[in-house]
Subunit: 380 residues, 2 copies
């Protein structure tokens, strides 16, 4: 292999696949990036066996030539060193040449690196994905769906299935759910499934995979193709393939958790409510598990408070836009509430309570596609 490649393109490509490379892998060759050049261009691959990312740098794009190819070929290069080196090369192009025993030379300006490469035949094959279950949605929209749900996955390995986001597809409607059993986030969104009718219900994608995917997808309205199989999901964006394994096991039926009635309903400005909780939680962090108290006062005011015997106390008052039903005193984890409110993307939020000991529901005002559920904490 001998090529001359635009450095910015290479840096961007390496940065994308590095998101799948882990320094803690038990498979030595996965500390490397696979680089293959054929007539389409240069394909870079990174993997930690859970996530694999394949990135094509095309020979030419929008009438700009990215790569001049002298010889095709492939090699595996030490990922961390290679990615640091390309970022610091002096010219705007680099010449890459594979020599004997996969020793690879990088020349850029007056700089010359020789890296000891590995045999690409020893690099694991990417999963073979049969494209039976395919649907599409805008990339930036899918990023929003990830942001609105993934924060609620469990970080504990006690129930591994809860460390992922559950995707269900039925009648062209995608439902994404995440819960750590203390709170739950759900987002529904219509998707394009082509002519074929497809449905599935027990697809659980690791939260970590979705976080990495989110960093790679461009913020534009180009379509993302999503291919689901029994143990893998593949996201196809422009020049990128992103594979993730799915979690084994049955995702719990969360539909029964969401209350259908309510005893107290408030509508409140999201930002004011969020900031009041943020301040109240300042005194709740240590020794109190970040739990704040919430109470309705009269028929218009919400009080958020916290009391730390060693530091002091805080009272916050927020005027609600609407308030109906029974008086209420309830306590909850401020972090859960703040994350739920931030995921809402709305000026006003509706909160539906069914008593101090029951989970309560948050919805953006006038919007049914997002639901956030939080379990209270007993303190009153």
């Amino acid at each position: 292999m001998k090529v001359k490649i635009n450095l910015d393109q290479l840096i961007q490509g390496v940065q994308d696949v590095m998101k799948a490379v882990s320094s803690r892998t038990t498979i030595p060759i996965l500390t490397g990036i696979k680089m293959s050049v054929d007539s389409d261009g240069m394909t870079l691959t990174g993997s930690d066996s859970d996530i694999s990312i394949e990135r094509l740098i095309p020979v030419e794009e929008n009438e700009t030539v990215h790569i001049e190819i002298d010889n095709e070929g492939s090699v595996v290069l030490p990922a961390r060193y290679f990615s640091e080196i390309v970022k610091k090369l002096p010219n705007d192009t680099v010449e890459i040449e594979i020599g004997e025993r996969f020793e690879t030379t990088l020349r850029s300006g007056s700089s010359e690196f020789s890296l000891l490469g590995l045999d690409p035949e020893e690099y694991p094959r990417l999963p073979q994905v049969e494209e039976n279950h395919v649907f599409e949605m805008q990339g930036d929209l899918f990023k929003t769906v990830i942001r609105q749900t993934v924060f609620a996955v469990s970080t504990s390995e006690t129930r591994p299935i809860l460390t992922g986001v559950n995707m269900r597809l039925e009648d062209g409607l995608l439902t994404c759910t995440a819960t750590d059993s203390h709170r739950l986030a759900e987002r529904q969104i219509p998707v394009e499934t082509g002519s074929e009718e497809i449905s599935f219900s027990n697809v659980v994608i690791p939260g970590k995979s979705l976080n990495e995917l989110s960093k790679i997808i461009d913020d534009n309205d180009e379509n993302l193709q999503i291919v689901v199989t029994s143990n893998q999901v593949l996201f196809k964006a422009k020049n990128i393939l992103f594979f993730s394994r799915l979690l084994d096991g049955n995702y719990p039926d969360t539909s029964k958790l969401i209350p259908s009635d309510s005893k107290t309903e408030i509508v409140i400005k999201t930002k004011d409510f969020l900031q009041a909780i943020d301040r109240a939680s300042l005194l709740a962090r240590e020794g109190r598990n970040n739990v704040v108290k919430f109470a309705t006062i009269g028929n218009q005011t919400v009080e958020v408070s916290s009391n730390s015997p060693e530091i002091g106390k805080v009272f916050e008052h927020v005027i609600a836009e609407e308030m109906e039903g029974e008086e209420l005193k309830i306590s909850f984890n401020a972090k859960y509430m703040m994350e739920a409110l931030k995921a809402m993307d709305c000026a006003e939020v509706k909160v539906l309570f069914t008593g101090a000991m029951r989970p309560f529901l948050l919805k953006p005002m006038g919007e049914q596609s997002i639901k956030q559920l939080i379990l209270p904490v007993r303190t009153y």
Copy 2:
């Protein structure tokens, strides 16, 4: 005490004095910020007993009123909580009132905090500094002097005196020196000493103090007054007093270390040289203590190289602007060289070698006030 104060002013003041507050202090009251209000305004004080910072927020400044005073008084508030709270208060002013047993109420908009304060009488007095040895220089210039020397102080407590920067003043010329015994940085600068002739030689300011001071001084040309006593130094800027203890012990005589002759001299573009060393060091970090090799080739070219048997090797070539004297091969720590080059602030640097085993000297081209000395490492 009861006052109403502009929140931005309070946030800035608290942020300044927080630089002296440590969470690891053994004196409980020093986890607090002392707040005193008198007719001048509000004075905030933070201290970790090594560094003490006193910050005045004047009642009025540039025809803007910062504080409305109902009652004077003082209190010590829990620093970490207080600083986090003020940053998040909703209004652009906050009302502060000290109640019984130093319980202090902060009211801003619909937010009300009560913090358990402590008796200000228990807060240690700031050092009494006699103003015998006073000199002045521009604040931004002193920040430059700090930046050009402080990186070279020792981080090891083996010889505590080397963790500080030595200041000597003679004939109106201030000399600042830092060394960790592997490299040395020296900066000279004329200062204003008023009518009186002052001189001192063994003033050693902890590197940590200078780093914190550097964060507080504004980037402008206002004068900084520097008051030196036998065990304290006081920096006086607008509305700020910054006290630091001095290090005990005798600073070594470093003047003999600096070679007066040279066998090889080069002049080289600082940026090109810096970037070549930066790249070469990429392969030198692990297992090789960041040591790179340097060699003159012919009478014009400098080669910087590194070889890591497990990863690969790198050769960098830089054309020197000038090169005189004997051929040279030498090895040195890339980090020391890069830090020295960055401190130079010059387009071209002159490097003076006196052989592969002797310390070598760097100076900005055409400039005598900065000297950087680096000890080589034996590898050739």
